[in-house]
């Protein structure tokens, strides 16, 4: 043990490494990945030395690639304008390698290129691969990486891989993909990314619940009436009609993002904050979701499609009128679910989830609805009585937390009006939280998988979701409900909630 290391604060600076982005010509690289890397460089969080290699089919020079990435950083980096001095030293470490994902020679060339970079920059063969490609390319790339000797299962130098969503399209395909990846990588080397977990408010959920003494005692079926989680988007399928026909919102949003958020809301306290302890609790929660009884899917799940309407001042077409969409399509663009949890904490507390395209605005929030006071003293029969207490946690936009409660209206009566006590990240901390990709890429570089999805988590969520897809397939419905774009969804979804309850207007 080096005594000079004793007491030095453990640096969250990753070891020198080469990152390879597969599918580097795609939008994600230009809009998110390179801007995140540049911002990390600007905040001195990138390793030194470090290099990033873009790998894709299109022929392109290093200079061309750097130019495109510079344009991406100019438009999308969180810290703008781009610092010229920093960019020139950062760009020197950005390279491009042309190749097809199924061409073994391209991987040999990649290997040579990385060895040259290692030698030039003094990088000890640490590798981070990022699969930013269509999921169909994952097995090919993973196999070729293994065959070309580009993966070491050793701890040092390390090899890690980040896999973008979707991880499978049902339970079976997720299991197959898990097996394929694990033939080449150990589980600890695999980072299944869900960018929702990189959002500050989602991470704050753990701090909020387990770092404060006053909330956790209320976080159970004694005080919570129900939970609503909304993931709404104002955009439509944005030219990706053909993809969406295969996916649907249940796969695209609920299986990954909303289930991840829900598991953080519902999980038990972990024994520590290490990655496996946290993920153990999330898996336990997912496994305690009550499966929907056979033949009763419509009592628990409502699916719908948006029809034409008006969103944020624009007239928009209905889903079936979008390019690439089958006019007879029954693919859901809206889904609402009622979930019950079979454990002590959440027995009889329904979790209502909904997600949709073409809602009035983009918003993701969690709302914990508390039970009413046991005895009503105020406003009987006047309509100005107690209002339900709701704790709403806003994930995007305007990240923050608000507590909704009743307050006496000033004056001679005891009429009650709803008021909000609000915390906003922007207000309290004065600056915008970092981009999710910055945090997640940094964590993968460091080998910290707490905010990434483990194989059993993926399979637990697919187990639940696949049963819904199977039930829908058995129904063979010719059409599903529609709702006007720009509204909060179909009336059928209100019936999920039960007597006296309603969806929040977030």
């Amino acid at each position: 043990m080096n005594p000079l290391r004793d007491g030095l604060i453990k640096e969250r600076v990753p070891a020198p490494q080469v990152m390879v982005i597969f599918g580097a010509s795609g939008d994600l690289t230009r809009r998110k990945l390179l801007p995140a890397l540049y911002t990390l460089a600007r905040e001195r969080q990138l390793p030194s030395p470090f290099s990033v290699v873009g790998f894709a089919r299109r022929p392109k020079s290093d200079e061309d690639f750097r130019g495109e990435m510079r344009e991406g950083c100019d438009r999308f980096a969180r810290r703008r304008p781009v610092d010229e001095t920093l960019w020139s030293s950062f760009a020197e470490c950005v390279f491009y390698q042309q190749g097809s994902f199924d061409d073994a020679a391209a991987y040999a060339a990649l290997k040579t290129r990385m060895e040259e970079i290692d030698a030039k920059l003094g990088i000890p063969a640490n590798r981070l691969y990022y699969l930013s490609t269509p999921p169909s390319a994952y097995p090919t790339i993973i196999d070729n990486l293994g065959a070309a000797g580009l993966v070491s299962r050793a701890y040092e130098p390390f090899t890690r891989i980040i896999v973008e969503k979707p991880f499978g399209r049902d339970l079976e395909s997720a299991q197959v993909l898990n097996r394929q990846v694990k033939q080449v990588f150990r589980e600890a080397q695999i980072f299944r990314i869900d960018h929702y977990l990189g959002k500050e408010t989602v991470q704050n959920m753990l701090v909020f619940r387990f770092g404060n003494g006053i909330f956790e005692p209320l976080w159970n079926n004694r005080y919570v009436d129900h939970v609503q989680i909304t993931g709404a988007e104002a955009i439509g399928v944005e030219g990706r009609g053909a993809y969406y026909e295969e996916a649907g919102i249940l796969r695209d949003m609920v299986q990954n993002h909303l289930f991840q958020v829900m598991s953080l809301v519902g999980m038990e306290p972990p024994i520590s904050m290490d990655s496996n302890s946290v993920r153990d609790e999330k898996v336990k929660f997912l496994r305690s979701l009550r499966h929907i009884p056979d033949g009763k899917v419509d009592e628990y799940v409502v699916r719908a499609q948006y029809a034409s309407g008006h969103v944020l001042g624009e007239s928009v077409p209905g889903y079936k009128e979008e390019p690439g969409v089958d006019p007879q399509s029954t693919t859901e663009t809206y889904v609402a679910l009622k979930l019950l949890v079979d454990n002590w904490r959440w027995a009889n507390v329904p979790f209502f989830l909904r997600s949709s395209k073409r809602m009035p605005k983009r918003v993701t929030e969690i709302a914990i609805h508390f039970r009413q006071a046991p005895h009503q003293l105020f406003g009987n029969g006047t309509g100005k009585g107690p209002v339900p207490n709701v704790l709403s946690i806003r994930i995007q936009p305007n990240e923050g937390i608000a507590l909704h409660f009743g307050s006496k209206i000033p004056g001679p009566t005891t009429d009650i009006a709803p008021v909000n006590m609000e915390f906003l990240y922007g207000t309290s901390f004065g600056n915008e939280p970092p981009e999710a990709y910055e945090r997640l890429i940094l964590d993968a570089m460091l080998g910290d998988s707490t905010l990434f999805t483990r194989d059993d988590e993926v399979e637990a969520s697919w187990t639940f979701i696949t049963r819904i897809h199977q039930a829908w397939a058995e129904q063979k419905k010719k059409q599903i409900p529609v709702f006007e774009a720009g509204s909060w969804g179909p009336s059928e979804a209100d019936e999920l909630l039960g007597e006296g309850m309603h969806w929040r207007r977030p």
Partner: protein
């Protein structure tokens, strides 16, 4: 009241200046007026709401010019800091008694708010500054009570004492009693006595000390530690043959702190001073380690001091040398049997970044008091045993 575009460092910042010489009982009222003004100006400009943000009470002491370090003063530095850490700034400015306004008042006050446009666009994040000028000793005596009255409740208090060495006077002690944290900077002080005084303060008060001089050493400490990472190297630290450290005059205190840290990590040691007390440019000590004695030499000489004034550290151990030396303002080299002159880039932090980092995190670095105490004893040529 007037709104002025700030000509300072952060583009997009607007300062709303309140009245000068305001009634001290009306400070909060004046500030409320400024908030209204900022809100109205934002509405007129079609911007979203003005947001008042506050994470800290920052009590900034500004001594008279003749006592200040020769560098930009703390209030200017804090313009950049508050853009990242919204705070209420209580600026205490000590001025000569002769400058007191007519009417015999020993203190006067002014207020302003500074708004930064959020980089994401839209709303302005604003912080507020309350300036208090105290004239002579009488004026200074008012500072603690005014600070007590003007703190934002339930938020931590950081005393920012960056413009001069923190001498142990009544004002400092009174303000420390109100503070959770104190930010000092021992590096610019040319006096070794500064470290001795800070060492006493650290041991006497409950406030967490954040020394920017110590924070600047962080990358250096990591690099020095890396010289002894290879297998077998830690063992060599038990057989030290000598330590030599060279600094520029402005890096003297950094050198002492680095030496204090190094010795604090080496286990049981006994020091006897040799030819140290009262010297300016050369110091020698002898250290007894379990396996024998070794000398320490400390040289102060001219040089380009990009590494916080540190020019070279040479640790001789187990028959080999482990050296960190400055190459130029932006690079250092590690010379050791394992590193062979490896050149590394220096990623220094500027002062506003250091202050922001000092306000974040836990505050006191547990290694600092130990390193400081040994540095103070070295300077005082005080024999010790640990």
């Amino acid at each position: 009241m007037s709104a002025v575009q700030n000509g300072g460092q952060s583009a997009g910042a607007i300062t709303y200046a309140g009245g000068q010489n305001i009634d001290l009982a009306n400070v909060e009222h004046e500030l409320a007026g400024l908030w209204r003004q900022a809100g109205e100006a934002a509405a007129e400009a079609g911007q979203r709401s003005v947001t008042r943000a506050c994470l800290w009470n920052l009590v900034v002491y500004q001594p008279p010019p003749e006592q200040r370090y020769g560098r930009p003063s703390a209030p200017r530095l804090l313009d950049d800091v508050t853009a990242a850490v919204p705070s209420r700034l209580l600026r205490l400015e000590l001025r000569p008694e002769a400058e007191a306004p007519s009417g015999g008042k020993a203190v006067s006050a002014w207020v302003n708010t500074k708004c930064n446009i959020s980089p994401a666009g839209g709303h302005q994040i604003c912080t507020e500054e309350i300036g208090i000028a105290g004239f002579g000793r009488k004026g200074q005596a008012h500072f603690p009570a005014l600070v007590r009255a003007l703190l934002v409740p339930d938020l931590p208090v950081a005393l920012v004492w960056l413009d001069s060495a923190p001498h142990k006077g009544r004002l400092l002690r009174d303000l420390l009693r109100l503070s959770d944290r104190i930010l000092v900077d021992t590096q610019p002080s040319a006096e070794g006595a500064t470290l001795i005084e800070v060492d006493e303060l650290v041991r006497e008060t409950h406030a967490q000390f954040v020394d920017l001089g110590w924070m600047r050493l962080t990358p250096v400490r990591y690099m020095v530690a890396s010289l002894f990472d290879a297998p077998g190297r830690p063992e060599q630290l038990k057989h030290l043959e000598g330590i030599r450290i060279d600094t520029t005059p402005s890096g003297r205190n950094s050198g002492f702190l680095l030496l204090g840290w190094l010795l604090s990590r080496l286990g049981k040691l006994e020091l006897s001073a040799e030819d140290a007390a009262g010297r300016e440019a050369e110091f020698r000590w002898k250290i007894r380690q379990e396996n024998g004695s070794f000398p320490i030499e400390f040289h102060v000489r001219e040089g380009e001091g990009g590494l916080d004034g540190l020019l070279c550290l040479d640790v001789a151990a187990g028959g080999e040398h482990f050296v960190l030396r400055q190459v130029d303002a932006l690079h250092v080299a590690l010379d050791s049997p394992d590193h062979g002159g490896k050149k590394l880039a220096l990623h220094g932090w500027d002062d506003p970044e250091l202050v922001v980092a000092g306000l974040g995190g836990p505050g006191l670095d547990a290694l600092y008091p130990e390193a400081l105490n040994i540095a103070a004893r070295l300077i005082g040529a005080e024999a010790w045993n640990r």
